[in-house]
Amino acid sequence: MLLPGPLKGMFRSRGGQPPNGPTQPAGPSRAQAALRGGAAAALLSSRPSRGLEEFFTYIRGRCGLRILDMGGATQKNVTFITDLGHKMYSEDFLQILNDTFGADGTTEQSNPGRIEYFLKQTLNYQEGEFDGVLVWDVLEYLSPALLTAVVERLQHVVRPKSYMLAFFHAEDKVDAVPFYTFRIGAANAIEVAQHGVRQPAQLFNNRSLEKLFGRFESVKFFLTRERLREVIIKA
């Protein structure tokens, strides 16, 4: 079966045909290289995104909103958001995660002191500061303790009735997932650049995601053809 999008190579390798066995987890050096943008040439593809479309539906027609992008600053995202008349905030969440815990430092991610330090580095904002958050897929790389703390902090920094967009891989068992950067191509399309693979800290299904965002008002899922869950969370 031919699948469009950046994941088609991954599915091919997971279909049982690879001669060298299952995909190996990403080593720290590879993940670090990916975070620094030093991995092999990124695979860039564009695909429709219902989640992004929903996100922009909620903020369309309004001006001067504060939007946080947790995927690091890219020209396309900055241009798109600011052209809509909004103020953009940028956090290179995974880079700070990497700096704080190491590229595969999930063991340290349960240390309360380090969690507190990490949150001061990356989500140190006032209550209700943001009208929308583009979370992308960064939550997949957090161990349970850190993830809970980050979600609580996100709930603190977003304004009530505002929206967040997050991506999660829909695989049940996987050692490594493609490491992406996401760029806004249009209000309903994203460009995905792959920079190798990275080991997720945990995987989610619909039920676990509903539980994770249980304190938010609502959670809405869109399953893409690439088996990626696009999740709209209303605060």
Binding site: R36, A73, T74, Q75, V78, T82, K87, M88, S90
Partner: protein
């Protein structure tokens, strides 16, 4: 035979004070208040793209703590703490430059590192491998892949161009020549 060899040698005027290949003559730099060496390095070592004619530069072995006001383009490849203002000009932070300061300029290009808020009336460029942590206020922004940015971006549309002022007004408003003013609390040459 001997005469021929002499003929092949490049002819140089005898001038024991000047080096054989003199660097480009730097633009006049006026330093107000404290006499502070603005640069300890030859400007010829910088990339041509990063220094226009008549620009001042702060070399990578120089550290300035205090306020910098520049009336010409400024290239910072050293360390600056405090404030940097080049309101009508371009400020370039070189690859070795580390600026912990509030920055105001017409145009800002970052190849090194800035920690502080940046206001650029025209545009700001954050190049690959550059790092900027702070809030940005500008009319246009360019961010290359591989750049690190943490902070907010506020795009301020430029005000509509007003009618051209009369020549007399223009002359009055013109800066009195190129100058860089350094009000430094401390200056340290790390070489």
């Amino acid at each position: 035979m001997w005469n021929k060899r002499r003929d092949e040698e490049p002819q140089r005027p005898y001038n024991p004070q000047a080096p054989a290949s003199a660097p480009a003559v730097p633009s006049p730099v006026v330093v107000k208040k404290e006499a502070t060496p603005v640069s300890s390095m030859s400007p010829a070592r910088y990339e041509p793209d990063n220094r226009g004619g008549g620009s001042a530069s702060i070399g990578k072995a120089v550290k300035i703590v205090g306020q910098i006001f520049s009336n010409e383009d400024l290239y910072v490849d050293g360390e600056v703490e405090g404030t940097v203002e080049a309101m009508e000009h371009k400020l370039t932070i070189g690859p070795n430059g580390t600026v912990k300061a509030t920055v105001k300029a017409r145009e800002v290009a970052v190849l090194g590192s800035i920690g502080g808020n940046v206001e650029a009336t025209d545009k700001i460029e954050i190049r690959k491998d550059a790092k900027l942590v702070g809030d940005i206020k500008t009319a246009r922004i360019i961010i290359e892949d591989g750049a690190y940015f943490k902070g907010s971006i506020d795009i301020v549309k430029p005000e509509p161009v007003k009618a051209a002022p009369k020549p007399a007004q223009q002359a009055a408003a013109a800066p009195h020549g190129n100058q860089v003013s350094v009000a430094a609390g401390a200056t340290e040459n790390k070489r």
